[in-house]
């Protein structure tokens, strides 16, 4: 159970809750239910939650599948820094957002789902102690580790949202693996005396001679 990445599931649950809130809100406002203004709130809250949760965070280990077109939202979500990075804040935010929608029938399901998502985000922080490194100033016992979560610490440990960034593509160095042939004619000095020892076994014989520059530099024709 220790290796479960709860944050990933919390993200899926929150996204689904956002969609349910939007649907419930549309039903309430379109149907002109009593207190339909809660429905309008629910649509706004649902859209906000969806936009916040759409960019998937990077997994702790392993590769993460990006959602389609998430890089635009990743840039926006990244701007808010610790507000969106920290799962505590996300949990509390979701909990607060879900409360007003609970007063209307059509959105009560959205409330419950978002509250559960908030709970799962909190659960990320309550992972078993073996999963996370022991924090300084805290005795390594399971009882203490549970309480440590409440104590504010300078360094935020545990899970947090990290954006998936595309790795900068390295331009392949053309001809980087091409080994230049020996620049001096035979007889050549043995491998130790030469600056660049050749890989072929045959090229290791011969007495030393001075290095000679080739009149025409040798390059690879294939571009």
């Amino acid at each position: 159970m220790g290796q479960i990445e709860w944050a990933m599931w919390a993200n899926e649950q929150a996204l689904a809750s956002g969609l349910i809130l939007i649907t419930g809100g549309i039903v309430a406002t379109a149907g002109h239910f009593t207190q339909w203004y809660f429905g309008a709130y629910s649509i706004v809250a649902g859209v906000f939650v969806c936009l916040l949760e759409y960019p998937r965070g990077k997994r702790k280990k392993g590769s993460t599948m990006e959602r389609c077109g998430q890089k635009y939202m990743t840039a926006v979500v990244k701007l808010f820094g610790p507000l969106t990075r920290n799962y505590y804040i996300r949990a509390i935010l979701h909990l607060l957002l879900s409360v007003p929608a609970g007063f209307l029938l059509a959105t009560i399901l959205g409330t419950a789902c978002l509250a559960i998502a908030s709970g799962i985000y909190l659960l990320c922080k309550f992972l078993p102690p073996a999963e996370r490194a022991a924090s300084p100033g805290c005795a390594p016992s399971s009882v203490c580790a549970g309480f440590c979560v409440y104590l504010p610490r300078a360094a935020v440990r545990g899970e947090q949202w990290t954006p998936i960034e595309p790795k900068p593509r390295e331009r392949p160095h053309v001809g980087g693996t091409i080994k230049q042939p020996p620049s001096n004619p035979p007889p050549r000095p043995p491998a130790e005396a030469r600056k660049k020892p050749s890989e072929e076994a045959e090229a290791a014989e011969g007495p030393s001679a001075g290095p000679q520059d080739n009149p025409i530099p040798v390059t690879d024709e294939i571009v």
Binding site: M8, W9, L15, L105
Partner: protein
């Protein structure tokens, strides 16, 4: 090979369309009934057509909830596969698609649940509104029914509370409905492909919320909140006439006050059978897990692969099948699938396990694969085995020529197959229909599968001992190498045996040119039917299917490639 595709895929398409057809039929039939039925005339006055939407989707939900548990009763499916001799060919292949069907039915449940929930939101809102002071006329009269002692109520919302949400939570149907919807959402969000890849355990554990789902579903209708006029009342009270004369109901004898009763809960009738079936399935799984499994040999391969030889009473397998293994010392709830790598002719069954996650890593450590001192047999952890499951690769023997292609980890079912082929070859009594096997193995790094290379080496020697060197022709393609390896290979190019695998047949580098391969095979066997079997990534599967279609000749007496798409 359009005909081949139609035969292979046509049955699946027909089954899906039938399921869809039944859903539509049930939906439309129920919808029309509720729209026209007299006993619900007054209910429709308050609710409109959302009553019909809710009831129609409820019936579809009942149907789909009945179906959903059946495809995942794998022992039942193995039973059907084992006993049905009539279920050959395309029907047997449908049994392999059980998980796809399970997902399809789950989508059906999600869609119908959405319709049902939205329709009932409208219903509850309308019931609520018809109790307010603004409601007039027939609506108000109907809502007031039930206030005096002799009357039965129609409107389940009896007073005009401030909030429909609290009203929902006061009814059994409301509370169980919320619980069911929550359970469904939890199951759906934890079953996405991403979550299954990231953390299969999470998916598996949360999926057990289905128990809450089914329990709540059974109690969902017990509140009898869907109310229609009783038959007795209908015979006395003419709806078409009396609905205009609602003011006289209390007084006139022509229109006595209509009486209403709630609809009997029916969901439990639909789901009881499958729930009992699934309960039996879980009991069978538990019982099989208690059966003793004797570990006869533990081999730790240098590439981090653990080979386990086991014996179990009454265990019969076919090549290509898989078993589910559980190790209570590591986790009492997790069962993991492993393809069997031994031949049915051997007196043990074996699996090869590689560390690919925390369960397998823990298993390797428990069996001392980390290179520690030898383990004593009594100190090895106990294992439970369920199975074998899955489609067998025995179709290989039905063709005169078979082409087996394995990519990467897909090589494991072919280990069992090749061993089985060798055993069948050695049996000189029964001549085999199969006369030639081409085996293609494409992998990035042969070191991970050096146990398989060892198997090929031993097969090679045994075949040459029997004088059957031309029976099996295998080609290994390494698609990943570094410069050191390349130089090493270049230096030893002219030697007899391959420098990487030690086999007589040389390893090729890079991906195979399938056009050349298929052309060569078609040329070698001009008038045979050739079976092609593949295990590996989907992209390559599509390529091979294309090759099969392209190189099969139009002449019925010519060469024909039959692509067998198995799901391993």
């Amino acid at each position: 090979m359009m005909g081949c595709w139609i035969l292979n895929e046509g049955l699946s398409v027909i089954l899906v369309l039938s399921w869809l057809g039944v859903n539509f039929y049930l939906f439309i039939d129920t919808f029309c009934w509720y729209e026209k039925e007299e006993s619900f005339h007054y209910t429709r006055v308050i609710l409109g057509s959302t009553l019909a939407w809710a009831r129609a989707s409820a019936l579809c939900l009942n149907f789909n909830c009945m179906l959903i548990l059946i495809p995942i009763s794998r022992n039942l499916i193995s039973f059907i596969r084992g006993t049905s001799i009539c279920c050959r060919g395309p029907w047997r292949r449908q049994l392999d698609k059980n998980l796809k069907f399970h997902k399809l039915v789950a989508y059906g449940i999600a869609v119908n649940a959405a319709i049902h929930v939205v329709a009932h939101f409208f219903n509850l809102e309308r019931y609520h509104w018809s109790q307010s002071e603004e409601a007039e006329g027939l609506l108000a009269a109907l809502s007031k029914l039930g206030n005096t002692p002799n009357e039965s109520y129609l409107n389940p919302v009896r007073t005009f509370p401030a909030n429909t949400a609290t009203e929902l939570l006061r009814t059994i149907a409301g509370v169980t409905g919320l619980v069911i919807s929550l359970a469904l959402v939890l199951i759906l969000t934890s079953s996405t492909e991403f979550i299954r890849q990231v953390s299969y355990e999470l998916f598996w554990y949360i999926h057990h919320v289905f128990i809450v789902f089914f329990l709540s579903l059974a109690i969902h209708g017990t509140g009898r909140i869907v109310r229609g006029q009783t038959q007795d009342s209908l015979s006395l009270h003419n709806v078409t006439f009396c609905s205009d004369h609602y003011a006289e109901w209390q007084t006139a004898a022509q229109c006595p006050v209509p009486q209403f009763s709630g609809k009997e809960p029916s969901a439990w009738k639909w789901v009881l059978g499958p729930v009992v079936l699934y309960a039996c399935e879980r009991i069978i799984r538990f019982w099989r897990s208690q059966q003793e499994v004797v570990i006869t040999k533990v081999i730790s391969h240098p590439s981090g692969v653990l080979e386990l030889h086991m014996k179990k009473r009454g265990f019969k397998m076919a090549p290509g099948q898989y078993i589910l293994m559980q190790c209570p010392a590591i986790s009492s709830l997790e069962w993991h699938p492993f393809t069997l790598t031994s031949a049915p002719q051997e007196d043990f069954f074996s699996v090869h396990i590689r560390a690919a996650g925390d369960w397998t890593a823990a298993l390797l450590e428990a069996f001392g694969a980390g290179g520690q001192a030898l383990q004593e047999p009594w100190s090895l952890p106990r294992l439970a085995v369920d199975g074998p499951f899955g489609a067998a690769l025995t179709d290989v023997f039905h063709y005169p020529v078979s082409v087996c292609i394995a990519a990467g980890i897909g090589v494991t079912p072919f280990a069992a197959l090749l061993k089985s082929i060798w055993y069948k070859c050695s049996e000189t009594q029964t001549p085999l229909k199969l006369s030639k096997v081409y085996f293609y193995w494409i992998c990035r790094d042969a070191r991970a599968f050096e146990w398989f290379a060892d198997l090929l080496l031993s097969l090679e020697t045994r075949m040459s001992e029997q004088g059957k060197t031309h029976f099996l022709s295998y080609h290994i393609f390494l698609t990943g190498w570094d410069e050191n390896q390349a130089v090493h290979i270049a230096l030893h190019w002219d030697e007899n045996t391959d420098v990487i695998t030690g086999l007589k047949q040389k390893t090729f580098y890079g991906r195979p040119n399938w056009n050349n391969e298929f052309r060569q095979i078609a040329y070698n066997h001009p008038s045979s039917s050739i079976g092609v079997f593949f295990c590996g990534p989907k992209a390559l599967s599509k390529t091979l299917q294309r090759m099969c279609r392209f190189y099969s000749s139009a002449d019925p007496r010519g060469v024909h490639f039959y692509y067998n798409k198995e799901s391993f």
